[in-house]
């Protein structure tokens, strides 16, 4: 079954996944209107700085078993087995944040519910199950043009990684396998700037 797979080495830190995710989870689902909505929609994927350059798109792993589901007192968090997704029920959530305390990845945030604007509730990635049900890919995947976020069966994605590694090991090919000369040059300069800060 396909899921969102993250390739952090491809993340350029543009944060378009965050914008697309927020727009997808807004009332209007339209960028130009979403930025004027009250409450403002919030992203469920979070890009942070990875020292050495580039970013890291941090998203919910929909763990099995999910610590957040186990921690939730009123049963607002539950697993949809068919779609392999951990979901929040805004009606049941009491904003106790036990889920956020339990989550080791920090992907649960608290915002005013779009469904129930009188409540602040836990918000997290919902795997864009609505989009998938009509044959679309998740919003973050659609936004990511470097394919740091892809929609793929995890084992197939890892098989491709094995193939890349195998090629890199091959003596003849090794010099040629530069995924992006521009990108690796940029990362080299960024770590040089950091390195020069070390006080001697």
């Amino acid at each position: 079954m396909k899921q969102v797979v993250v390739r952090p080495e491809r993340c350029v830190g543009c944060m378009q996944c965050m914008v697309a995710c927020a727009v997808e989870h807004s009332s209007s689902k339209n960028l130009y209107e979403a930025v004027f909505e009250a409450p403002l929609p919030a992203p469920r994927v979070h890009v942070a700085y990875a020292p050495g350059g580039g970013g890291f798109p941090n998203r919910c792993r929909h763990c099995v078993p999910a610590p957040c589901v186990n921690a939730c007192f009123p049963g607002a968090l539950s697993r949809d087995k068919e779609r392999d997704t951990v979901l929040v029920d805004d009606f049941k959530c009491i904003r106790c944040a036990s889920c956020a305390m339990a989550c080791p990845f920090g992907v649960i945030r608290f915002h005013v519910s779009i469904q129930l604007p009188s409540k602040t509730v836990a918000q997290k990635c919902d795997n864009c199950i609505q989009r998938i049900s009509v044959g679309k890919v998740p919003a973050c995947v659609e936004a990511c043009k470097t394919k740091a976020l892809i929609f793929e069966d995890i084992n197939i994605a890892l098989q491709k990684r094995t193939q890349e590694v195998a090629r890199a090991i091959s003596k003849e090919i090794r010099e040629e396998v530069v995924i992006s000369e521009a990108w690796s040059t940029r990362l080299r300069f960024l770590s040089q700037y950091e390195g020069l800060r070390k006080v001697n």
């Binding site: 944060m15 350059g53 043009k145 000369e181 521009a182 990108w183 300069f189 700037y193």
Partner: protein, 631 residues
């Protein structure tokens, strides 16, 4: 040094900045370094030059990893997008410098028409020399009439009528021929900027090479046009700089005096303030409010202009501009344009410091606007000084932190001053270069950037160069960094290698010469042209190099391009947004040398940059048939 400031050593090498960062942290005041950290990770598309916002069929980006889109909606590939973006940076930088020149020409015109009280013609000889270059004979003309005629001729340089800028005639014939062959001879100052904006519009120039060539032409219209006019006219109106002592760093602020700072670029504003603070009426008022006097100091380029001509001290460079407010000792900062962070007004609100904007082109948050024009600048400057003096009463003495004592420095080395120090001709300098006592010369120029440890790039590079008998000329923020490190004292001669030390002692100069502000980078290329003409070679044959170890601005891009296009290889300390185009990167870092006889290097580590420059200078020496140390 206050406790805990060691953690700021990673951000800045200088103790006055470290002390102020401590104050900022204690007071909860956000600085440029904080905002830089909050921006991380910065977008990789934009950093590689691979994003385009020129039209609303976009915005577009190119995937550097090859899997996503490789062309924008219009069909432009990475080479076109990256080069267009670089060229717009060149246009913006050229426009900034050239507007600065334009405003000076306006003052010159007003002086000629007697409508600029407070301004005059400080150097009539230079006025005559420059006028003659423009084919205007001084015979039978008063200085005012000559000024007016020259102003008209210079205004002509900005337009569409000419086929070549006048001051291009200063370059060696070989250099001019290269420009003609490449079709990059600058025709008109505004014209080249305008054409650059045209060419970068969607669907105009879609050839990255010709785009780059127009970028070079636009930059040359700045270096041999707008900026050079700015320097020459500033010298005519305010005086040609001569060597003099001065002081630098936050210690130039005085505990018991009214402190007024000028920030920005155009001496049109700062010179009027400088006159106003000497007014006896103002000094009397200062005493009445309990101050011992009025202390004027500079920030950034306008500070450089006042220092070069009047020895007025400098409080700091780009990354110091927020920190200086936090001393709590500044009654007023008067700004005009360029490099003034919009964060300054809000920071000043935490203190008694009054922030004043003076240019109709430049407004800022939380600044009071007092617009200066040639006909009323002198009066408005006096009004502002009065307001600053009265503001002394609002200073909270307990909050004042002036953490260091000032460092001495020598300043004022215009080309004219250098020639005079050499006895009226360049021959003594040429002889020492031929003899190898001085291996060559390097312009260490440019800004600060929080990406590079503050002042580390400038000072480290300069030290390595002078240790290797290379004369250093500095301008802009780099000049402040080197002065703060004590490299422009006579004692610094001891830090130089044997040959440079000997020459510096004989001429009674420091091993690092302050040449001026950023428009005064033209003094460096003019000197290079003089040397080349004296030796009958091209500028690219000379053992020279340029370096911008900590640059940030679009103006710096333009300067780097005009310096390289004029034949001087330049090392950059921060990488420009060109890596997204392999072709453009390869051209700038190599192939361009085949076209203009010079190239770029990118090297953030100043130790490595020094090695690159030293090797380059020795190569040039060898090619000239001089003794050279080739490893």
């Amino acid at each position: 040094m206050p406790e805990g400031s060691h953690k700021f050593q990673e951000l800045t090498t200088v103790s006055d900045a470290q002390a102020m960062l401590e104050v900022a942290a204690r007071s909860g005041i956000e600085t440029v370094w904080d905002r830089y950290k909050a921006q991380l990770p910065q977008c990789g598309y934009c950093d590689l030059g691979l994003s385009c916002r020129n039209c609303v069929m976009g915005p577009c980006r190119i995937d550097p990893f090859g899997e996503g889109p490789q062309k924008g909606v219009c069909g432009a590939d990475g080479d076109i997008i990256v080069t267009r973006n670089l060229c717009r940076m060149i246009a913006a930088g050229a426009a900034s410098h050239s507007d600065h020149g334009r405003d000076l020409v306006e003052v010159l015109l007003n002086v000629g028409e007697g409508r600029a009280p407070g301004y005059g013609i400080r150097d009539v000889e230079k006025l005559k020399r420059v006028a003659q270059e423009f084919g205007i004979s001084p015979d039978g003309k008063t200085p005012e009439e000559l000024a007016k005629a020259l102003a008209y001729a210079m205004q002509e340089e900005y337009g569409t009528r000419k086929s070549s800028l006048q001051l291009v005639s200063r370059v060696p014939l070989k250099r001019k021929e290269i420009w003609e062959r490449l079709n990059i001879l600058p025709r008109g100052i505004d014209r080249e900027t305008s054409e650059m904006m045209h060419r970068t519009h969607m669907g105009v120039d879609n050839n990255w090479q010709t785009l780059l060539l127009q970028g070079a032409r636009c930059a040359l219209a700045d270096g041999w046009g707008g900026s050079l006019i700015a320097t020459e006219v500033s010298d005519i109106i305010f005086g040609v700089p001569t060597p003099k002592p001065s002081k630098v760093n936050l210690g130039v602020l005085k505990q018991e005096e009214v402190n007024i700072l000028v920030h920005g670029h155009n001496p049109v504003v700062s010179e009027m303030v400088s006159a106003a603070v000497q007014d006896p009426e103002m000094l009397e008022l200062a005493k009445r409010v309990g101050a011992k006097g009025i202390n004027l100091a500079g920030l950034c380029c306008t500070g450089n202009e006042l220092m070069m001509r009047k020895g007025i001290p400098m409080a700091g460079n780009h990354l110091m501009t927020e920190l200086v407010i936090m001393t709590g000792a500044v009654e007023m900062i008067i700004v005009d344009y360029q490099c003034i962070m919009p964060s300054l007004g809000p920071i000043a609100k935490c203190f008694h410091t009054k922030m004043i904007s003076t240019s109709d082109k430049a407004r800022f948050p939380d600044m009071q606007h007092v617009e200066f024009h040639p006909h009323d600048a002198a009066k408005k400057a006096k009004d502002l000084v009065r307001e600053a003096v009265l503001n002394y009463q609002n200073r909270i003495k307990e909050r004042v932190v002036i953490p260091v004592s000032p460092t001495q420095c020598w300043t004022g080395f215009s080309v004219e001053a250098l020639l005079q120090a050499l006895g009226g001709s360049l021959d003594p300098l040429i002889e020492t270069i031929k003899a190898g006592k001085i291996r060559g010369a390097v312009g260490v120029v440019g800004c600060n950037n929080p990406k590079i440890r503050h002042d580390y790039g400038h000072v480290t590079l300069t030290k390595r160069l002078i240790e290797n008998d290379i004369l250093v000329l500095d301008t802009g923020c780099a000049a402040v960094a080197n002065a703060k490190a004590g490299l422009k004292t006579l004692e610094a001669q001891e830090l130089a290698g044997k040959g440079l030390r000997e020459v510096a002692k004989a001429l009674n100069i420091p091993p690092v010469l302050h040449v001026g502000s950023c428009v005064d980078n033209t003094r460096i290329i003019v000197l290079a042209a003089h040397l080349a003409n004296a030796l009958g070679v091209d500028i690219s044959d000379l053992p020279l190099a340029g370096a911008a170890p900590e640059w940030y601005s679009e103006k710096a891009v333009t300067i780097a391009v005009y310096v390289v296009a004029s034949g001087i290889t330049t090392v950059l300390g921060t990488v420009p947004p060109v890596l997204g185009s392999r072709n453009l990167t390869k051209m700038l870092l190599g192939d361009i040398e085949g076209l203009v006889g010079a190239r770029f290097h990118v090297e953030p580590d100043p130790e490595k940059a020094a090695k690159i420059i030293i090797a380059h200078i020795e190569e040039k020496r060898k090619a000239l048939g001089l003794e050279a140390k080739i490893l």
